[in-house]
Symmetry: C2
Subunit: 220 residues, 2 copies
């Protein structure tokens, strides 16, 4: 069966490729695997039918021949087991690429998402304070500085492009571009990834859905 990817009916990012289904779309394009999409509204995401696919009521979810998976990292890991092109064949190189998949979601992403959420969670709250935003930005900077120092003049994190780069680039795209721009080698790394044909196809596919005029919020 053609795999089915469950995605937002309307993405709050307006098609800028920041929703986590973009990670899976890009991976599917890298390996040349066709897929279908199923849409869920914000309301449907919290209902039992979707929670049977994704217990935390989030997107993406993935189905293939009776196998149901969630977590973008895990879906991409699965695709890498069944298709060439996402993880190296050499065992040691493969283990290092998996390291970067986990580093993306576990070490680099949390401060970026926390800063992003603060724009909403702190609004109208008694703890809203500009110093907190500056503190959160500095925490992102510390991670970016470490990553930039490691990357140096490498094209990709470890040898050829891998799922580790795919995950890391989409995490970096979620940060304030002005912060990433403070580290020219990271900005160039993101641009290098965005130039890949598979990225462009994946971006276009989601942008075709969400890039237009936003529907009323009741339809999200």
């Amino acid at each position: 069966m053609t795999p089915i990817l469950t995605v937002f009916k309307w993405s709050p990012d307006g098609g800028s490729g920041l929703a986590r289904d973009m990670r899976v779309r890009w991976a599917l394009e890298e390996v040349g695997q066709d897929y279908e999409v199923r849409f869920v509204t914000f309301k449907q995401m919290k209902e039992p039918e979707h929670r049977a696919r994704q217990p935390f009521g989030q997107i993406p979810a993935y189905e293939e021949d009776g196998l149901r998976l969630f977590e973008s990292g895990a879906i991409i890991h699965h695709l890498a087991q069944t298709h060439p092109g996402l993880l190296p064949a050499d065992k040691a190189a493969r283990a290092r690429a998996v390291t970067w998949m986990f580093a993306a979601v576990s070490t680099v992403e949390p401060p970026i998402v926390e800063r992003e959420q603060a724009d909403f969670t702190d609004a109208d709250q008694p703890w809203k304070h500009p110093a907190r935003f500056a503190f959160l930005d500095d925490r992102i900077r510390a991670r970016l500085a470490d990553l930039s120092a490691y990357l140096g003049d490498r094209d990709w994190l470890d040898g050829d492009f891998s799922a580790g780069d795919l995950m890391m680039v989409l995490v970096l795209r979620r940060a304030d571009p002005a912060l990433v721009a403070e580290f020219p080698n990271l900005a160039a790394y993101v641009a290098r990834a965005e130039a890949r044909p598979a990225y462009q196809r994946a971006y276009a596919a989601q942008h075709a859905l969400y890039g237009g005029k936003a529907p009323p919020m009741s339809e999200w």
Copy 2:
């Protein structure tokens, strides 16, 4: 060669098993793999020698026959490729177990760590406010409620015990126990895991190092 795990010289948790090397120690015990430990002080963690093993200056780091890995999830994933006992052999079951490894670090852990850090980051800051702590606790509750609803009366997240459970249990142990206790099946799940002989051996190994009187902070 015997694998080498790099760990804190002194763990700020005083041996309660919350540092992330505990995940790898437990996995090594589950598969019966001996290991050696290398200690790093807080100062050494930020120096070039350690950053060559762990670019973000954190623990744990792992070395084995010239292979250097970091990120507890990736180290455990590697151990599962080379030893039976951490991930199921069946491909679909294996993919689902990997899903739970990512769910642990990417979906359940971030709000727990954010709350834990707030005790330190908010102290003496102009944004310190009790309402923020309550908000952060509620965000953890929402994740725990989803996980509890999914777990139901299962013993483990998906079939037999796997690396997904190992990761999830140690993430849950990092939350305020009073929050986890609001969900009796989650509290029982944690207790079930803690009763495993491999967990007990791993816990004892780190507690033997950190369970005594704390040295002066200059020696951490």
